[in-house]
Symmetry: C3
Amino acid sequence: MVFNFLPQECNFFDLFEKQVDYAVDAASYFKRLVTNDSIDKASLQKMHNLEHQGDEITHDIFDRLNKTFITPFDREDIHALAKELDDIIDMLYTIVNRLSVYKLDGADKNLVEFASVIEESVCAVACAVKGLRNTKQFKSVSEFCVEVNRLENVGDSMRDTVLVELFERAKDPISVIKWKEIYEDAETVLDICEDVAHVVQSILVKQA
Amino acid sequence: MVFNFLPQECNFFDLFEKQVDYAVDAASYFKRLVTNDSIDKASLQKMHNLEHQGDEITHDIFDRLNKTFITPFDREDIHALAKELDDIIDMLYTIVNRLSVYKLDGADKNLVEFASVIEESVCAVACAVKGLRNTKQFKSVSEFCVEVNRLENVGDSMRDTVLVELFERAKDPISVIKWKEIYEDAETVLDICEDVAHVVQSILVKQA
Amino acid sequence: MVFNFLPQECNFFDLFEKQVDYAVDAASYFKRLVTNDSIDKASLQKMHNLEHQGDEITHDIFDRLNKTFITPFDREDIHALAKELDDIIDMLYTIVNRLSVYKLDGADKNLVEFASVIEESVCAVACAVKGLRNTKQFKSVSEFCVEVNRLENVGDSMRDTVLVELFERAKDPISVIKWKEIYEDAETVLDICEDVAHVVQSILVKQA
Protein backbone atom coordinates (compact mmCIF):
# COMPACT_ATOMS: atom_id res chain seq x y z
CA MET A 1 0.00 0.00 0.00
CA VAL A 2 1.25 3.46 -0.81
CA PHE A 3 0.18 6.17 1.66
CA ASN A 4 -1.52 8.95 -0.17
CA PHE A 5 -3.82 10.51 2.40
CA LEU A 6 -2.56 13.99 2.06
CA PRO A 7 -2.85 16.72 -0.50
CA GLN A 8 0.38 17.24 -2.38
CA GLU A 9 1.11 20.56 -0.67
CA CYS A 10 1.50 19.09 2.77
CA ASN A 11 2.96 15.70 2.05
CA PHE A 12 5.14 14.89 5.01
CA PHE A 13 6.93 12.15 3.10
CA ASP A 14 8.19 14.68 0.54
CA LEU A 15 9.40 16.96 3.31
CA PHE A 16 11.19 14.15 5.13
CA GLU A 17 12.86 13.05 1.90
CA LYS A 18 14.14 16.57 1.38
CA GLN A 19 15.32 16.71 4.98
CA VAL A 20 17.24 13.41 4.81
CA ASP A 21 18.76 14.48 1.50
CA TYR A 22 20.19 17.54 3.26
CA ALA A 23 21.49 15.26 6.01
CA VAL A 24 23.21 13.02 3.44
CA ASP A 25 24.67 16.09 1.70
CA ALA A 26 25.96 17.35 5.04
CA ALA A 27 27.51 13.97 5.93
CA SER A 28 29.21 13.70 2.53
CA TYR A 29 30.51 17.24 2.66
CA PHE A 30 31.68 16.64 6.23
CA LYS A 31 33.66 13.62 5.09
CA ARG A 32 35.19 15.55 2.19
CA LEU A 33 36.14 18.42 4.48
CA VAL A 34 37.89 16.33 7.11
CA THR A 35 39.59 14.18 4.49
CA ASN A 36 40.93 16.73 2.05
CA ASP A 37 40.56 20.33 2.95
CA SER A 38 41.50 22.49 5.81
CA ILE A 39 38.49 24.37 7.10
CA ASP A 40 38.53 27.77 5.46
CA LYS A 41 35.85 30.44 5.65
CA ALA A 42 34.16 29.21 2.46
CA SER A 43 33.80 25.61 3.63
CA LEU A 44 32.56 26.69 7.06
CA GLN A 45 30.02 28.90 5.32
CA LYS A 46 28.90 26.07 3.03
CA MET A 47 28.34 23.82 6.04
CA HIS A 48 26.46 26.64 7.72
CA ASN A 49 24.24 26.98 4.66
CA LEU A 50 23.41 23.28 4.74
CA GLU A 51 22.55 23.62 8.41
CA HIS A 52 20.35 26.58 7.64
CA GLN A 53 18.51 24.78 4.82
CA GLY A 54 17.98 21.88 7.19
CA ASP A 55 16.56 24.27 9.78
CA GLU A 56 14.10 25.73 7.32
CA ILE A 57 12.69 22.40 6.25
CA THR A 58 12.47 21.35 9.92
CA HIS A 59 10.41 24.40 10.77
CA ASP A 60 8.34 23.82 7.66
CA ILE A 61 7.52 20.33 8.97
CA PHE A 62 6.70 21.68 12.45
CA ASP A 63 4.43 24.38 11.01
CA ARG A 64 2.54 21.97 8.79
CA LEU A 65 2.24 19.56 11.68
CA ASN A 66 0.65 22.29 13.76
CA LYS A 67 -1.81 23.08 10.99
CA THR A 68 -2.65 19.54 9.85
CA PHE A 69 -5.27 17.28 11.40
CA ILE A 70 -4.61 14.05 9.57
CA THR A 71 -1.04 12.86 9.58
CA PRO A 72 0.39 9.68 8.01
CA PHE A 73 1.70 8.56 11.39
CA ASP A 74 1.57 9.73 15.01
CA ARG A 75 2.16 13.45 15.47
CA GLU A 76 4.75 12.85 18.18
CA ASP A 77 6.70 10.56 15.83
CA ILE A 78 6.64 13.15 13.04
CA HIS A 79 7.88 15.75 15.50
CA ALA A 80 10.63 13.49 16.87
CA LEU A 81 11.74 12.44 13.38
CA ALA A 82 12.06 16.04 12.14
CA LYS A 83 13.83 17.09 15.34
CA GLU A 84 16.38 14.26 15.27
CA LEU A 85 17.13 14.66 11.55
CA ASP A 86 17.74 18.35 12.21
CA ASP A 87 20.07 17.44 15.09
CA ILE A 88 22.25 15.34 12.75
CA ILE A 89 23.04 18.32 10.52
CA ASP A 90 23.39 20.67 13.52
CA MET A 91 25.96 18.41 15.10
CA LEU A 92 27.96 18.06 11.88
CA TYR A 93 28.07 21.85 11.61
CA THR A 94 29.06 22.09 15.29
CA ILE A 95 32.05 19.82 14.68
CA VAL A 96 33.21 21.75 11.61
CA ASN A 97 32.81 25.00 13.52
CA ARG A 98 34.87 23.64 16.41
CA LEU A 99 37.62 22.46 14.07
CA SER A 100 37.75 26.02 12.82
CA VAL A 101 37.61 27.67 16.27
CA TYR A 102 40.30 25.30 17.57
CA LYS A 103 42.37 25.82 14.41
CA LEU A 104 42.71 22.09 13.92
CA ASP A 105 43.91 22.01 10.35
CA GLY A 106 44.76 19.04 8.26
CA ALA A 107 43.35 15.56 8.08
CA ASP A 108 43.24 13.49 11.27
CA LYS A 109 43.03 9.78 10.48
CA ASN A 110 40.68 9.04 13.39
CA LEU A 111 38.27 11.75 12.39
CA VAL A 112 38.37 10.58 8.78
CA GLU A 113 37.37 7.13 9.99
CA PHE A 114 34.52 8.60 12.03
CA ALA A 115 33.38 10.60 9.00
CA SER A 116 33.15 7.39 6.94
CA VAL A 117 31.04 5.63 9.54
CA ILE A 118 28.88 8.74 9.90
CA GLU A 119 28.30 8.90 6.15
CA GLU A 120 27.33 5.21 6.11
CA SER A 121 24.96 5.69 9.02
CA VAL A 122 23.29 8.81 7.62
CA CYS A 123 22.80 7.00 4.28
CA ALA A 124 21.15 4.09 6.10
CA VAL A 125 18.98 6.58 7.99
CA ALA A 126 17.98 8.14 4.66
CA CYS A 127 17.02 4.77 3.20
CA ALA A 128 14.99 3.91 6.31
CA VAL A 129 13.12 7.22 6.29
CA LYS A 130 12.44 7.08 2.56
CA GLY A 131 11.09 3.55 2.90
CA LEU A 132 8.38 4.72 5.30
CA ARG A 133 6.31 5.87 2.33
CA ASN A 134 5.49 2.34 1.28
CA THR A 135 4.46 -0.52 3.56
CA LYS A 136 5.94 -3.02 1.06
CA GLN A 137 9.36 -1.65 1.95
CA PHE A 138 8.91 -2.02 5.70
CA LYS A 139 11.11 -5.12 5.87
CA SER A 140 14.05 -3.28 4.33
CA VAL A 141 13.32 -0.21 6.48
CA SER A 142 13.71 -2.44 9.50
CA GLU A 143 17.03 -3.77 8.16
CA PHE A 144 18.36 -0.24 7.66
CA CYS A 145 17.48 0.52 11.29
CA VAL A 146 19.41 -2.54 12.45
CA GLU A 147 22.38 -1.30 10.39
CA VAL A 148 22.19 2.14 12.03
CA ASN A 149 22.21 0.50 15.46
CA ARG A 150 25.21 -1.61 14.44
CA LEU A 151 27.12 1.47 13.28
CA GLU A 152 26.42 3.18 16.59
CA ASN A 153 28.16 0.31 18.35
CA VAL A 154 31.06 0.61 15.91
CA GLY A 155 31.24 4.30 16.80
CA ASP A 156 31.29 3.55 20.54
CA SER A 157 34.29 1.26 20.14
CA MET A 158 36.05 3.75 17.88
CA ARG A 159 35.56 6.51 20.42
CA ASP A 160 36.92 4.37 23.24
CA THR A 161 39.96 3.27 21.24
CA VAL A 162 40.66 6.78 20.09
CA LEU A 163 40.33 8.25 23.59
CA VAL A 164 42.61 5.59 25.10
CA GLU A 165 45.20 6.56 22.49
CA LEU A 166 44.64 10.30 23.00
CA PHE A 167 45.12 10.10 26.76
CA GLU A 168 48.10 7.75 26.48
CA ARG A 169 49.97 10.04 24.13
CA ALA A 170 48.73 13.09 26.04
CA LYS A 171 51.54 15.61 26.16
CA ASP A 172 49.60 18.81 25.60
CA PRO A 173 46.44 19.10 27.73
CA ILE A 174 45.01 21.82 25.47
CA SER A 175 45.18 19.46 22.54
CA VAL A 176 43.51 16.75 24.64
CA ILE A 177 40.65 19.13 25.46
CA LYS A 178 40.12 19.92 21.79
CA TRP A 179 40.29 16.43 20.33
CA LYS A 180 38.34 14.77 23.13
CA GLU A 181 35.46 17.07 22.30
CA ILE A 182 35.73 16.55 18.54
CA TYR A 183 35.76 12.75 18.85
CA GLU A 184 32.89 12.72 21.33
CA ASP A 185 30.83 14.98 19.09
CA ALA A 186 31.55 12.68 16.14
CA GLU A 187 30.28 9.74 18.15
CA THR A 188 27.22 11.77 19.13
CA VAL A 189 26.23 12.05 15.46
CA LEU A 190 25.96 8.25 15.43
CA ASP A 191 23.90 8.35 18.63
CA ILE A 192 21.48 10.75 16.97
CA CYS A 193 21.24 8.47 13.93
CA GLU A 194 20.36 5.67 16.34
CA ASP A 195 17.67 7.87 17.88
CA VAL A 196 16.19 8.37 14.39
CA ALA A 197 16.24 4.61 13.88
CA HIS A 198 14.35 4.15 17.16
CA VAL A 199 11.64 6.57 16.03
CA VAL A 200 11.39 4.79 12.68
CA GLN A 201 11.15 1.42 14.42
CA SER A 202 8.36 2.67 16.66
CA ILE A 203 6.48 3.89 13.56
CA LEU A 204 6.85 0.41 12.05
CA VAL A 205 5.52 -1.23 15.21
CA LYS A 206 2.47 1.00 15.24
CA GLN A 207 1.70 0.43 11.57
CA ALA A 208 2.12 -3.34 11.89
CA MET B 1 -9.97 38.26 22.19
CA VAL B 2 -8.81 37.82 25.74
CA PHE B 3 -8.59 34.21 26.89
CA ASN B 4 -10.61 33.75 30.01
CA PHE B 5 -11.59 30.10 30.00
CA LEU B 6 -10.24 29.25 33.36
CA PRO B 7 -11.25 29.96 36.90
CA GLN B 8 -8.94 32.48 38.54
CA GLU B 9 -7.33 29.87 40.77
CA CYS B 10 -5.76 27.91 37.95
CA ASN B 11 -4.98 30.61 35.43
CA PHE B 12 -1.93 29.40 33.57
CA PHE B 13 -1.24 32.88 32.22
CA ASP B 14 -0.80 34.24 35.75
CA LEU B 15 1.57 31.41 36.61
CA PHE B 16 3.63 31.90 33.46
CA GLU B 17 3.86 35.64 34.14
CA LYS B 18 5.19 34.91 37.61
CA GLN B 19 7.64 32.39 36.19
CA VAL B 20 9.04 34.76 33.54
CA ASP B 21 9.30 37.50 36.16
CA TYR B 22 11.56 35.21 38.18
CA ALA B 23 13.58 34.53 35.04
CA VAL B 24 14.00 38.27 34.42
CA ASP B 25 14.99 38.79 38.07
CA ALA B 26 17.54 35.99 37.77
CA ALA B 27 18.99 37.41 34.52
CA SER B 28 19.26 40.92 36.01
CA TYR B 29 20.85 39.65 39.19
CA PHE B 30 23.22 37.50 37.13
CA LYS B 31 24.33 40.56 35.17
CA ARG B 32 24.86 42.55 38.35
CA LEU B 33 26.84 39.74 39.93
CA VAL B 34 29.25 39.22 37.04
CA THR B 35 29.64 42.97 36.51
CA ASN B 36 30.25 44.25 40.00
CA ASP B 37 30.57 41.72 42.71
CA SER B 38 32.69 38.75 43.40
CA ILE B 39 30.56 35.73 44.17
CA ASP B 40 30.32 35.50 47.93
CA LYS B 41 28.15 33.14 49.97
CA ALA B 42 25.32 35.64 50.19
CA SER B 43 25.06 36.24 46.45
CA LEU B 44 25.28 32.52 45.70
CA GLN B 45 22.50 31.96 48.23
CA LYS B 46 20.35 34.68 46.68
CA MET B 47 20.74 33.10 43.23
CA HIS B 48 19.89 29.74 44.78
CA ASN B 49 16.72 31.22 46.27
CA LEU B 50 15.64 32.56 42.88
CA GLU B 51 16.25 29.12 41.41
CA HIS B 52 14.20 27.57 44.20
CA GLN B 53 11.29 29.98 43.72
CA GLY B 54 11.40 29.22 39.99
CA ASP B 55 11.28 25.51 40.79
CA GLU B 56 8.23 25.91 42.97
CA ILE B 57 6.23 27.76 40.38
CA THR B 58 7.27 25.22 37.74
CA HIS B 59 5.99 22.36 39.85
CA ASP B 60 2.86 24.35 40.56
CA ILE B 61 2.25 24.61 36.79
CA PHE B 62 2.92 20.88 36.30
CA ASP B 63 0.55 19.94 39.13
CA ARG B 64 -2.24 22.14 37.83
CA LEU B 65 -1.68 20.81 34.34
CA ASN B 66 -2.11 17.28 35.66
CA LYS B 67 -5.34 18.23 37.40
CA THR B 68 -6.87 20.47 34.70
CA PHE B 69 -8.93 19.27 31.74
CA ILE B 70 -9.31 22.48 29.79
CA THR B 71 -6.13 24.37 29.08
CA PRO B 72 -5.69 27.63 27.14
CA PHE B 73 -3.31 25.91 24.72
CA ASP B 74 -1.96 22.42 24.08
CA ARG B 75 -0.92 20.56 27.22
CA GLU B 76 2.44 19.62 25.68
CA ASP B 77 3.14 23.29 24.93
CA ILE B 78 2.30 24.31 28.50
CA HIS B 79 4.60 21.60 29.79
CA ALA B 80 7.43 22.56 27.42
CA LEU B 81 7.06 26.26 28.21
CA ALA B 82 7.23 25.74 31.98
CA LYS B 83 10.15 23.32 31.61
CA GLU B 84 12.22 25.64 29.40
CA LEU B 85 11.56 28.72 31.53
CA ASP B 86 12.70 26.72 34.54
CA ASP B 87 15.85 25.69 32.64
CA ILE B 88 16.79 29.35 32.08
CA ILE B 89 16.98 30.05 35.81
CA ASP B 90 18.65 26.70 36.54
CA MET B 91 21.40 27.42 34.05
CA LEU B 92 22.00 30.91 35.43
CA TYR B 93 22.36 29.43 38.90
CA THR B 94 24.66 26.71 37.51
CA ILE B 95 26.99 29.37 36.08
CA VAL B 96 27.10 31.38 39.30
CA ASN B 97 27.74 28.18 41.25
CA ARG B 98 30.60 27.25 38.90
CA LEU B 99 32.16 30.70 39.21
CA SER B 100 32.15 30.10 42.94
CA VAL B 101 33.46 26.51 42.79
CA TYR B 102 36.22 27.56 40.35
CA LYS B 103 37.00 30.62 42.47
CA LEU B 104 36.79 32.87 39.43
CA ASP B 105 36.56 36.22 41.13
CA GLY B 106 36.31 39.61 39.57
CA ALA B 107 34.58 40.83 36.45
CA ASP B 108 35.48 39.18 33.13
CA LYS B 109 34.63 41.47 30.21
CA ASN B 110 33.47 38.58 27.99
CA LEU B 111 31.12 37.23 30.61
CA VAL B 112 29.78 40.72 31.26
CA GLU B 113 28.95 40.98 27.55
CA PHE B 114 27.23 37.60 27.63
CA ALA B 115 25.24 38.70 30.68
CA SER B 116 23.96 41.74 28.79
CA VAL B 117 22.80 39.69 25.84
CA ILE B 118 21.24 37.15 28.21
CA GLU B 119 19.33 39.89 30.02
CA GLU B 120 18.05 41.27 26.69
CA SER B 121 17.00 37.82 25.55
CA VAL B 122 15.23 36.89 28.79
CA CYS B 123 13.36 40.22 28.68
CA ALA B 124 12.25 39.49 25.11
CA VAL B 125 11.18 36.01 26.24
CA ALA B 126 9.15 37.58 29.04
CA CYS B 127 7.40 39.97 26.64
CA ALA B 128 6.62 37.11 24.26
CA VAL B 129 5.19 34.90 27.00
CA LYS B 130 3.14 37.72 28.54
CA GLY B 131 1.69 38.56 25.14
CA LEU B 132 0.20 35.08 24.79
CA ARG B 133 -2.71 36.15 26.97
CA ASN B 134 -4.21 38.32 24.26
CA THR B 135 -4.55 37.43 20.58
CA LYS B 136 -4.36 41.13 19.68
CA GLN B 137 -0.75 41.09 20.82
CA PHE B 138 0.21 38.08 18.71
CA LYS B 139 2.02 40.18 16.12
CA SER B 140 4.33 41.67 18.73
CA VAL B 141 4.74 38.26 20.39
CA SER B 142 6.02 37.01 17.07
CA GLU B 143 8.46 39.91 16.84
CA PHE B 144 9.84 39.21 20.30
CA CYS B 145 10.44 35.60 19.22
CA VAL B 146 12.38 36.79 16.17
CA GLU B 147 14.45 38.98 18.50
CA VAL B 148 15.22 35.99 20.76
CA ASN B 149 16.36 34.01 17.73
CA ARG B 150 18.56 36.91 16.63
CA LEU B 151 20.18 37.14 20.06
CA GLU B 152 20.92 33.41 19.98
CA ASN B 153 22.91 33.99 16.80
CA VAL B 154 24.72 36.88 18.47
CA GLY B 155 25.55 34.52 21.33
CA ASP B 156 26.92 31.87 18.94
CA SER B 157 29.33 34.37 17.40
CA MET B 158 30.35 35.69 20.80
CA ARG B 159 31.10 32.19 22.04
CA ASP B 160 33.20 31.40 18.96
CA THR B 161 35.17 34.66 19.20
CA VAL B 162 35.72 34.22 22.90
CA LEU B 163 36.86 30.59 22.55
CA VAL B 164 39.27 31.45 19.73
CA GLU B 165 40.79 34.07 22.02
CA LEU B 166 40.81 31.73 25.03
CA PHE B 167 42.63 28.96 23.17
CA GLU B 168 45.05 31.37 21.51
CA ARG B 169 46.13 32.92 24.80
CA ALA B 170 45.99 29.52 26.48
CA LYS B 171 48.84 29.30 28.92
CA ASP B 172 47.16 27.53 31.81
CA PRO B 173 45.06 24.51 30.78
CA ILE B 174 43.16 24.54 34.08
CA SER B 175 42.00 28.06 33.38
CA VAL B 176 40.98 27.00 29.85
CA ILE B 177 38.87 24.18 31.30
CA LYS B 178 37.10 26.58 33.65
CA TRP B 179 36.39 29.43 31.25
CA LYS B 180 35.46 27.21 28.31
CA GLU B 181 32.71 25.76 30.45
CA ILE B 182 31.51 29.14 31.75
CA TYR B 183 31.29 30.64 28.26
CA GLU B 184 29.56 27.59 26.82
CA ASP B 185 27.04 27.59 29.65
CA ALA B 186 26.39 31.30 29.05
CA GLU B 187 25.67 30.57 25.40
CA THR B 188 23.42 27.71 26.47
CA VAL B 189 21.17 30.18 28.30
CA LEU B 190 20.54 31.85 24.94
CA ASP B 191 19.85 28.45 23.36
CA ILE B 192 17.21 27.79 26.01
CA CYS B 193 15.65 31.20 25.38
CA GLU B 194 15.46 30.23 21.71
CA ASP B 195 13.76 26.97 22.69
CA VAL B 196 11.15 28.99 24.59
CA ALA B 197 10.66 31.16 21.50
CA HIS B 198 10.08 28.02 19.42
CA VAL B 199 7.40 26.82 21.80
CA VAL B 200 5.74 30.23 21.74
CA GLN B 201 5.87 30.30 17.94
CA SER B 202 4.24 26.89 17.75
CA ILE B 203 1.47 28.11 20.08
CA LEU B 204 0.91 31.06 17.73
CA VAL B 205 0.71 28.80 14.68
CA LYS B 206 -1.88 26.58 16.36
CA GLN B 207 -4.03 29.54 17.45
CA ALA B 208 -3.88 31.17 14.02
CA MET C 1 -7.19 -0.93 45.03
CA VAL C 2 -4.82 -3.13 43.07
CA PHE C 3 -4.62 -2.29 39.35
CA ASN C 4 -5.35 -5.34 37.30
CA PHE C 5 -6.65 -4.01 34.02
CA LEU C 6 -4.23 -5.80 31.82
CA PRO C 7 -3.77 -9.36 30.70
CA GLN C 8 -0.78 -10.96 32.37
CA GLU C 9 1.30 -10.96 29.18
CA CYS C 10 1.48 -7.20 28.88
CA ASN C 11 1.53 -6.11 32.48
CA PHE C 12 3.54 -2.92 32.57
CA PHE C 13 4.00 -3.18 36.32
CA ASP C 14 5.84 -6.48 35.94
CA LEU C 15 8.08 -4.98 33.28
CA PHE C 16 8.87 -1.91 35.36
CA GLU C 17 9.69 -4.09 38.36
CA LYS C 18 12.13 -6.06 36.24
CA GLN C 19 13.62 -2.84 34.91
CA VAL C 20 14.16 -1.27 38.36
CA ASP C 21 15.63 -4.55 39.59
CA TYR C 22 18.26 -4.27 36.85
CA ALA C 23 18.89 -0.67 37.89
CA VAL C 24 19.39 -1.75 41.52
CA ASP C 25 21.71 -4.57 40.39
CA ALA C 26 23.69 -2.07 38.31
CA ALA C 27 23.97 0.42 41.20
CA SER C 28 25.10 -2.30 43.61
CA TYR C 29 27.62 -3.69 41.17
CA PHE C 30 28.84 -0.16 40.45
CA LYS C 31 29.44 0.42 44.16
CA ARG C 32 31.29 -2.87 44.51
CA LEU C 33 33.44 -2.10 41.48
CA VAL C 34 34.55 1.35 42.58
CA THR C 35 35.07 0.18 46.17
CA ASN C 36 37.03 -3.01 45.73
CA ASP C 37 38.10 -3.89 42.27
CA SER C 38 40.04 -2.29 39.56
CA ILE C 39 38.05 -2.32 36.34
CA ASP C 40 39.21 -5.33 34.38
CA LYS C 41 37.72 -6.67 31.15
CA ALA C 42 35.43 -9.05 32.99
CA SER C 43 33.87 -6.42 35.21
CA LEU C 44 33.44 -4.01 32.30
CA GLN C 45 31.75 -6.82 30.38
CA LYS C 46 29.45 -7.61 33.31
CA MET C 47 28.39 -3.97 33.52
CA HIS C 48 27.85 -3.97 29.77
CA ASN C 49 25.64 -7.04 30.09
CA LEU C 50 23.50 -5.33 32.73
CA GLU C 51 23.19 -2.32 30.44
CA HIS C 52 22.17 -4.60 27.59
CA GLN C 53 19.55 -6.41 29.67
CA GLY C 54 18.19 -3.03 30.72
CA ASP C 55 18.02 -1.98 27.06
CA GLU C 56 16.06 -5.07 26.12
CA ILE C 57 13.41 -4.59 28.76
CA THR C 58 13.16 -0.91 27.84
CA HIS C 59 12.49 -1.75 24.21
CA ASP C 60 10.07 -4.41 25.34
CA ILE C 61 8.13 -1.72 27.24
CA PHE C 62 8.21 0.65 24.24
CA ASP C 63 6.98 -2.08 21.88
CA ARG C 64 4.13 -3.10 24.15
CA LEU C 65 3.22 0.54 24.65
CA ASN C 66 2.98 0.96 20.88
CA LYS C 67 0.73 -2.08 20.61
CA THR C 68 -1.47 -1.52 23.68
CA PHE C 69 -4.58 0.65 23.79
CA ILE C 70 -5.36 0.58 27.50
CA THR C 71 -2.51 1.47 29.79
CA PRO C 72 -2.51 1.68 33.59
CA PHE C 73 -1.37 5.31 33.44
CA ASP C 74 -0.72 7.95 30.77
CA ARG C 75 1.24 6.69 27.79
CA GLU C 76 3.69 9.59 27.99
CA ASP C 77 4.41 8.76 31.65
CA ILE C 78 5.04 5.11 30.83
CA HIS C 79 7.39 6.18 28.06
CA ALA C 80 9.22 8.70 30.28
CA LEU C 81 9.53 6.22 33.13
CA ALA C 82 11.03 3.49 30.94
CA LYS C 83 13.36 5.99 29.27
CA GLU C 84 14.67 7.47 32.53
CA LEU C 85 15.15 4.08 34.21
CA ASP C 86 17.14 3.01 31.15
CA ASP C 87 19.23 6.18 31.42
CA ILE C 88 20.24 5.29 35.00
CA ILE C 89 21.87 2.04 33.92
CA ASP C 90 23.36 3.61 30.77
CA MET C 91 25.05 6.31 32.82
CA LEU C 92 26.45 3.80 35.32
CA TYR C 93 27.93 1.82 32.44
CA THR C 94 29.28 5.04 30.91
CA ILE C 95 31.15 5.85 34.13
CA VAL C 96 32.65 2.36 34.42
CA ASN C 97 33.66 2.50 30.77
CA ARG C 98 35.34 5.88 31.29
CA LEU C 99 37.22 4.61 34.34
CA SER C 100 38.53 1.88 32.10
CA VAL C 101 39.35 4.15 29.12
CA TYR C 102 41.09 6.64 31.42
CA LYS C 103 42.90 3.82 33.22
CA LEU C 104 41.78 5.14 36.59
CA ASP C 105 42.53 2.16 38.74
CA GLY C 106 42.03 1.75 42.42
CA ALA C 107 39.39 3.07 44.78
CA ASP C 108 38.83 6.83 44.94
CA LYS C 109 37.19 7.82 48.21
CA ASN C 110 35.02 10.51 46.60
CA LEU C 111 33.70 8.15 43.98
CA VAL C 112 33.02 5.52 46.64
CA GLU C 113 30.92 8.08 48.49
CA PHE C 114 29.03 8.93 45.31
CA ALA C 115 28.43 5.24 44.68
CA SER C 116 26.84 4.87 48.12
CA VAL C 117 24.47 7.77 47.56
CA ILE C 118 23.66 6.46 44.09
CA GLU C 119 22.83 3.03 45.48
CA GLU C 120 20.56 4.60 48.11
CA SER C 121 18.83 6.72 45.51
CA VAL C 122 18.31 3.89 43.02
CA CYS C 123 16.86 1.73 45.83
CA ALA C 124 14.44 4.52 46.74
CA VAL C 125 13.53 4.83 43.05
CA ALA C 126 12.87 1.09 42.94
CA CYS C 127 10.58 1.26 45.99
CA ALA C 128 8.70 4.21 44.49
CA VAL C 129 8.18 2.50 41.13
CA LYS C 130 7.15 -0.81 42.72
CA GLY C 131 4.62 1.00 44.90
CA LEU C 132 2.78 2.33 41.85
CA ARG C 133 1.01 -1.01 41.52
CA ASN C 134 -1.14 -0.39 44.55
CA THR C 135 -2.95 2.85 45.43
CA LYS C 136 -2.74 1.92 49.13
CA GLN C 137 1.02 2.38 48.89
CA PHE C 138 0.83 5.84 47.30
CA LYS C 139 1.73 7.61 50.53
CA SER C 140 4.98 5.69 50.86
CA VAL C 141 5.64 6.10 47.12
CA SER C 142 5.47 9.82 47.67
CA GLU C 143 7.91 9.57 50.59
CA PHE C 144 10.40 7.62 48.48
CA CYS C 145 10.21 10.39 45.86
CA VAL C 146 10.98 13.01 48.51
CA GLU C 147 13.98 10.90 49.56
CA VAL C 148 15.23 10.75 45.95
CA ASN C 149 14.97 14.53 45.71
CA ARG C 150 16.88 14.89 48.98
CA LEU C 151 19.66 12.62 47.74
CA GLU C 152 19.97 14.69 44.57
CA ASN C 153 20.68 17.72 46.73
CA VAL C 154 23.24 15.70 48.69
CA GLY C 155 24.85 14.80 45.35
CA ASP C 156 24.97 18.45 44.25
CA SER C 157 26.86 19.44 47.39
CA MET C 158 29.20 16.47 47.08
CA ARG C 159 30.02 17.38 43.50
CA ASP C 160 30.75 20.99 44.42
CA THR C 161 32.96 20.02 47.36
CA VAL C 162 34.79 17.44 45.32
CA LEU C 163 35.36 19.83 42.39
CA VAL C 164 36.63 22.60 44.69
CA GLU C 165 39.13 20.09 46.09
CA LEU C 166 40.05 18.77 42.62
CA PHE C 167 40.78 22.21 41.22
CA GLU C 168 42.63 23.34 44.35
CA ARG C 169 44.98 20.37 44.29
CA ALA C 170 45.16 20.54 40.49
CA LYS C 171 48.69 19.74 39.43
CA ASP C 172 48.03 17.60 36.39
CA PRO C 173 45.42 19.04 34.00
CA ILE C 174 44.89 15.66 32.32
CA SER C 175 43.89 14.17 35.65
CA VAL C 176 41.55 17.12 36.25
CA ILE C 177 39.86 16.48 32.88
CA LYS C 178 39.31 12.83 33.75
CA TRP C 179 38.05 13.18 37.30
CA LYS C 180 35.90 16.22 36.61
CA GLU C 181 34.01 14.16 34.08
CA ILE C 182 33.71 11.11 36.34
CA TYR C 183 32.35 13.15 39.26
CA GLU C 184 29.93 15.08 37.08
CA ASP C 185 28.65 11.85 35.53
CA ALA C 186 28.19 10.39 39.02
CA GLU C 187 26.10 13.39 40.00
CA THR C 188 24.13 13.04 36.76
CA VAL C 189 22.97 9.59 37.89
CA LEU C 190 21.31 11.29 40.85
CA ASP C 191 19.75 13.87 38.53
CA ILE C 192 18.24 11.07 36.47
CA CYS C 193 16.90 9.41 39.62
CA GLU C 194 15.26 12.74 40.46
CA ASP C 195 13.74 12.84 36.96
CA VAL C 196 12.23 9.40 37.62
CA ALA C 197 10.83 10.69 40.91
CA HIS C 198 9.22 13.60 39.05
CA VAL C 199 7.51 11.24 36.62
CA VAL C 200 6.30 9.09 39.51
CA GLN C 201 5.00 12.17 41.33
CA SER C 202 3.09 13.29 38.25
CA ILE C 203 1.53 9.82 38.00
CA LEU C 204 0.42 10.13 41.62
CA VAL C 205 -1.12 13.55 41.00
CA LYS C 206 -3.10 12.26 38.03
CA GLN C 207 -4.38 9.21 39.91
CA ALA C 208 -5.37 11.26 42.96
